[in-house]
Amino acid sequence: RLRNVRGKVRFMRYIYSVDKQYVGFATLPNQVHRKSVKKGFDFTLMVAGESGLGKSTLVNSLFLTDLYKDRKLLNAEERINQTVEITKHTVDIEEKGVKLKLTIVDTPGFGDAVNNNECWKPITDYIDQQFEQYFRDESGLNRKNILDNRVHCCLYFIPPFGHGLRPVDVEFMKALHEKVNIVPLISKADCLTPNEVKKLKDRVRDEIEHFGIKVYQFPECDSDEEEEFKQMDKELKECTPFAVIGSNTVVEARGQRVRGRLYPWGIVEVENQSHCDFVKLRNMLIRSHMHDLKDVTCDVHYENYRAHCIQEMTSKLAQDNRTDSPLPILPLPTPDVETERLIKMKDEELKRMQEMLEKMQQQMHEKDQ
């Protein structure tokens, strides 16, 4: 798309360079592009779902790297009472001069224990913590180097073995849909025939609507977009939830070396659009909507959190009855230690002065009498 705009800009330059009325702010997109390449991008992706649904394989396939080389998987007996952990892998990758700091947040143990009551709590806590951290940083005095660790997108893996969403899927998504962009995926889609895929997708879409789960919605196209783009966008939207297959291995198919899975009855190609929706997911996640995911996280989820936080704080303050305090009731976030100390000192000073004032008043009163 950007290429398109730049083309337009050059074209306009050509036409208007002769015309003195050309102002030149049409080069802004170029400037934005240049600055952003210099600054670099960051993206935090969370993957969640039960063990054995192909999450790690899919992440490796998406980013064409091996993030999970030395991980250790637990045995069944170790998982009976397993708790959910949060692990982070951060990698710096670069493509055509554009740098991306990619953080993958993993949730090992989710849904693996025998009793999975509230197993999503560590995950919601983690997301809230990142929001809180950002909130504090944003409200601080020195905002030069704020680290954005907020989760921009959560890929939720739905097993393809059932008839649709299970209670744990519903509960998880409902606990997170107002905190993070959820993109549900049908995992290990190579166990479903095309008919079964369609049936399952329809079922999952209906159940998502039925339970009121707000998954990530693709933004509407601008009306002045090219027809081809609009068509692509429409196809993308009708395809959700994406049915994906991942692979860590490269196989030979139709004379080419591709990522795929080798079976006695055929070869599944990960990037073959008639085999699965991997390409659509990759395009959506990386090539077209990565920034929109970040924007929605900042503008919607984070703002919700912030507003909620502030409201809670003000209602708490009102309850505390600080009406005789001379300090203004500013909804300050937890200030750092230094400021807090200063405030305490000033508070005490004021109290002392108030007491002295009272004493003096009393004395005067007595004198009058």
């Binding site: 054995g52 009793n115 097993p159 073995f161 009855w265």
Partner: protein, 420 residues
């Protein structure tokens, strides 16, 4: 039912005799067979696995029949078992097949109680058989045996290892029923992954002491095939009732954009192995094992609970009755004692309450007396006051009268004075 496998004739001398001609008792197995064919056979399968894992489809594929089945929902509150009985016939052999489904297994968020309905169901079938056996007038030959002969445990094809729920459930079931673990929907695992997966599963089962059914290797006719099959456990199966044309044949298969998975192709999955083992070779052994091992274990535990012991093998039936009588007496004695206790308690309670009530009555009475006295006191005071008041009034009246008479006489005096 001999408690031990002691050969009754071990102390006697056995002589091998050779026959002079054809006697004909070599037809005994045939007689047995024809009898059992007339009777018909009975087989009960329990399918344990998550909703949607392919239990119904596999049953349909195994028996080449469309058993009626509605899709189960994922939102059951708990696990419940759904047994369905069908009458099948092949050649002249009748089979009464019962398929028991575990509906809702693996769907709940808290699965700690999931194994209980399954264990309860199995125990109930054992209990029913035991009850029939202990009856005075019993008809075992006519009895519809509902004991589970085989439990097919469906493992989800994650490719990593067993799930925690699988381990917990199989441990609870392995002493009650023959378990054959199978990997369901195996067309999502590639060959190399499958090999690792099978090894991992078996090692987890062994290290946790789960006893799965081993195909018997003591009968020479089937030793070879059985022992080779034992090495292929757990079977990786694919089920399908749809027919796809492959080459010039129509086979049961699943059609994908990248190929066709044929159910009965041994290089695609282990379905054929499962069918061989389950139905064609070892069905009878499964029934036998259920009766001779699992049922006997249940029976022994149950009877021991009730207090029976195998002290005298000779007079076993006798001591059974004695013990039964003794137990009965004990039980009745217990019952009576409990009744007495309860009656005593009741009486005590009544006495207590009576006492309390009497106490309360007395208190009330006292209060009443007190109030009465107070009332009388008050009345007396009031009377006094009234009298005083009356006296005052009288005194006042007298004075008034006196004053009036005085005033009356005064003007007379004045008049008198005036007249004077």
């Amino acid at each position: 039912m001999a408690a031990t496998d002691v050969d009754i004739f071990s102390n006697e001398e056995k002589r091998n005799l050779s026959l002079g001609g054809h006697v004909g008792f070599d037809s005994l197995p045939d007689q047995l067979v024809s009898k059992s064919v007339t009777q018909g056979f009975c087989f009960n399968i329990l399918c344990v696995g998550e909703t949607g894992i392919g239990k119904s489809t596999l049953m349909n594929t195994l028996f080449n029949t469309m058993f009626e089945n509605e899709e189960a929902s994922h939102y059951q509150n708990g696990v419940y078992l759904r047994p369905r009985t069908y009458d099948l016939q092949e050649s002249n052999v009748h089979l009464k097949l019962t398929i028991v489904d575990t509906v809702g297994f693996g769907d709940q968020i808290n699965k700690e109680e999931s194994y209980k309905p399954i264990v309860d169901y199995i125990d109930t079938q054992f209990e029913n058989y035991l009850q029939e056996e202990l009856k005075i007038k019993r008809s075992l030959f006519n009895y519809h045996d509902t004991r589970i002969h085989i439990c097919l445990y469906f493992i989800a094809p994650t490719g990593h290892s067993l799930k925690s729920l699988d381990l917990v459930t199989m441990k609870k079931l392995d002493s009650k029923v023959n378990i054959i673990p199978i990997i369901a929907k195996a067309d999502t695992i590639s060959k190399s992954e499958l090999h690792k997966f099978k090894i991992k599963i078996m090692s987890e089962l062994v290290s946790n002491g789960v006893q799965i059914y081993q195909f018997p290797t003591d009968d020479e006719a089937v030793t070879e095939i059985n022992s080779s099959m034992n090495a292929h456990l757990p079977f990786a199966v694919v089920g399908s009732v749809e027919e796809v044309k492959v080459g010039n044949k129509t086979v049961r298969a699943r059609q994908y954009p990248w190929g066709v998975v044929q159910v009965e192709n041994e290089s695609h999955c282990d379905f054929v192995k499962l069918r061989e083992m389950l139905i064609r070779v070892n069905m009878e052994d499964l029934r036998e094992q259920t009766h001779a091992r699992h049922y006997e274990l249940y029976r022994r535990c149950k009877l021991e609970e009730m207090g029976f012991k195998d002290t005298d093998p000779d007079s076993q039936p006798f001591s059974l009755q004695e013990t039964y009588e003794a137990k009965r007496k004990e039980f009745l004695g217990d019952l009576q004692r409990k009744e007495e206790e309860m009656r005593q308690m009741f009486v005590n309670k009544v006495k207590e309450t009576e006492g309390e009530l009497k106490e309360k009555e007395r208190e009330l009475h006292e209060k009443f007396e007190q109030l009465k006295r107070m009332h009388q006191e008050e009345k007396r005071k009031v009377e006094e006051k009234r009298r005083e008041l009356e006296e005052e009034m009288n005194a006042f009246n007298r004075r008034k009268v006196a004053a009036e008479t005085l005033s009356l006489s005064q003007p007379l005096k004045k008049d008198k004075d005036k007249k004077n």
